[in-house]
Structure formats: C-alpha cells, structure tokens
Symmetry: C2
Subunit: 226 residues, 2 copies
C-alpha cells in the first residue's frame, strides 16, 4: 500500500537537504509489526528502546495541557525515533500507517559496549534528528501557510513520491489535522491551501489521501515565498 524504498536515502522528512542516513542493515532481522492507531510509547514513559522504522509511518507528537498539540515529526522508513532524554520519552509515538519496526536497546545508543557499529549509527541518527529539527524551526517560525504546505508536499514527494509518467504522486497517510499540527496551522487553513494549489493546477488529488504533483517547479516556487 505505501511505497517504501528501502534502498533509497531516507531521513526525517523535515530534512530536505540531507544525504542518506545509514543503509538498512538492521542488527536484528525482522522487526515487530504495529497496526494503525497503536502507540509505540507515550510521553513520560520510561525509555528502554529506540525504534528503527522499516516500513509504515509513525507520528511523534506532544500535547499541551489546554489540548493544543504539536506534531514533532512523521517517521518514515529509515528513520530512527524514540531518542530518550534522561531516561524518558518526551513525545507520543503513534502509528499512522501499519509499520514494521526494529527496536534497539537504548544502551546501544548511550554506550558503545556491545555493538560499536550500531552505536555509531544511532548517534549519527540522533545528530541527523537535531539537524532535521532545525529545518523544521525555519518552517514553523518563518514561513507562511502556503509556503509551509508547499514545502511539506515537496519533501514528501521527494521522499516517497513515485513517478507516474510525466507526473509523480504519493500517499498522505496523515489526516489534515495531523498536517496542521505539524505545520502550526489549523485544519481549515491546510484544507484551503491545498484546495488553492489544486485549483491553480499545481497539484491534483485522487481522494483526500493521494496527491499528484502536476507542476513541481511551481510547488518549489511556492515553498520559497515570492
């Protein structure tokens, strides 16, 4: 259903410019499968493991007391999520699209004993994560709604888009509200902006969850502001 490209460079989707993280050489073959709607962990949970996504999509998020939510990242194949801080998880991690996940003991991240190669790979992933988050800051703090949506669609297109003749298309497993909470917008603004792109002929929709990119250059231009 979801096209995963295990051989492709993959990264946290907020990082458009980063080259490939380590190739898929999981230390353990065959991860665990999680269904849509399940949670790998919750905010405040004691962190024992970090998770390497083989297939599917995860959502990392935080909620404020008053109910406001921020989606921190969407995890795609190749991403590693669940980095602990002081032994605890600081986000929710929910499954958006049925996922296969390999878990590693957090000790493999925190000290090199055992598997030095894995240790270094996890550290590299954590450093990548930091850089990815810095990109996302730019997005949240300094871009307008249409730039945010355009950037978001472009990154997804680059990461999971498949070529369909002269166009390319990809699947949006997350809801409009997930996108809104990721970009710091409301669902209405997300919806309106996507509609606007559609009416402008930049993209087309096939159902609410499939995006066809008709004019990548225009999308690129949108993402940079005018």
């Amino acid at each position: 259903m979801y096209v995963t490209l295990p051989s492709e460079p993959s990264e946290i989707i907020t990082v458009p410019h980063l080259p490939a993280p380590p190739p898929q050489t999981p230390s353990q073959k065959g991860g665990h499968t999680w269904k849509t709607g399940q949670s790998l962990y919750h905010e405040g949970d004691t962190a024992k493991r970090v998770y390497e996504i083989v297939s599917g999509v995860l959502r990392l998020s935080r909620v404020l007391e008053n109910g406001r939510r921020q989606v921190i990242a969407f995890g795609y194949p190749g991403d590693i999520v669940g980095f602990p801080c002081n032994g605890k998880h600081h986000t929710e991690c929910d499954v958006i699209a049925k996922a296969e996940v390999i878990s590693h003991n957090k000790d493999a991240l925190e000290n090199g004993e055992g598997d030095p190669a894995l240790h270094e790979r996890l550290i590299a992933a954590a450093l990548n994560e930091i850089s990815a988050m810095q990109d996302h800051f730019m997005m949240l703090g300094r871009k307008k709604a249409h730039e945010k949506i355009a950037s978001f669609l472009m990154v997804l297109n680059q990461r999971v888009g498949v070529s369909m003749g002269s166009f390319s298309q990809f699947h949006l497993p997350m809801s409009r509200s997930d996108i809104a909470d990721f970009l710091g917008l409301t669902t209405e603004t997300v919806s309106r902006t996507i509609t606007h792109f559609r009416k402008s002929g930049i993209i087309a929709l096939d159902g609410v969850q499939t995006v066809v990119v008709l004019d990548p250059a225009a999308l690129q231009e949108m993402s940079e502001g005018e």
Copy 2:
C-alpha cells in the same frame, strides 16, 4: 563585523571566513574566550569540534535565502552546542555576550575511544538538545505572541535570574530582533508585548536589557494561555 582577534594564534585553514578557531588539543581544560560579535562557526563549515559553554551567551541561527532568519537557540553556560550532522555545522554560532568556551573534538561525541565519560556526557547533551528542541516546537507552532514572550522570560528567569529581595531579575544580552527571530515574531510585536507586560505590572525594565520579574505567577499564567 566579525573581528578576528590579533592576539589569537590562528591556524591557516581552507575555510576562508572562519575566524580563529580555538587552538588547542582535544578536551583541553580552561577553555577559550570569545568576544561579542565573533562567530564560533558558520553554516556549512566542516565540523571538527563541539563547544561547551562555561560563561557568556551564544546564538545559534539559520538564514533563508530571502533573508528571513530563525534563531534556533541561545546557548548559556552548561549548554553544549555545535553538534555536527554529516560532518558539517548547520547553523551559525555567534557570540552575544563574551564567552568562555571549552571545545571538544567531535570524535569524542561520535565514538567512545579516548574518554568514555566525556563521550557519554556529550551523547546525553545531544539527547537533551533533542528534547529541548521539541519544547521549542510547541512554542513556535502552537503559542500566541504573549505566551511565547512570557515563556521566554520565564525560562530565562529560572535559568539566569538572580533574586533581588522579593523580586528576581536577569539580563537580556540579545536584541529584540534576536528574540523575535527566536520566537517567530517581529521586533515590533516583541516590543509591544514586553511593554504590555510592563504596563500590567508583571515585569519592570531597567534599561532595555535588564528585566525585573515583579509577578512570576502572572508571568506563568501568561505563558500558558488563558
């Protein structure tokens, strides 16, 4: 504007715009002093070291082509900055207040050989950084201007505030524009909001760079929305 200290022995390096890097062996104790306005590194620089702040204040930032800037973080004593990604720095790092900084070879972060204790300390710092950035996401994406400013002042007060009788006060080494770029606002909005807090009796100013917190509870309340 970035001045290289003549008194500093500066290596001849292929990076043309790099001011004098701290000439020292890995993990040297004692640190190195940087003056206001200097840059520890620039976006795109090859990352050789990470920096542990002993005193002073640093500013980590990124700029978009169109000139829009996002301040990623302010580095205060105890913080470790300059985590590399794929061997490069992905932010600017400028000195806001004269700083003493200890630099560590990045190898100490990436593999445990040498000093395992330092290695683990740097990893913990990186993981802390991830968590701190997640907090900041909440701020940028889901808080209103007055909540952002109030949160910002509160954090600074907790971190560097000194008790003055029944009140506490702290220094704001960064400009209004730095604060704006950190919080995703304009300088005008920052200024107006601070003025509003002042007129409400929540804070007082002693010059533009000293904040006296008169009513911490009100500030707390402001930071959470109503």
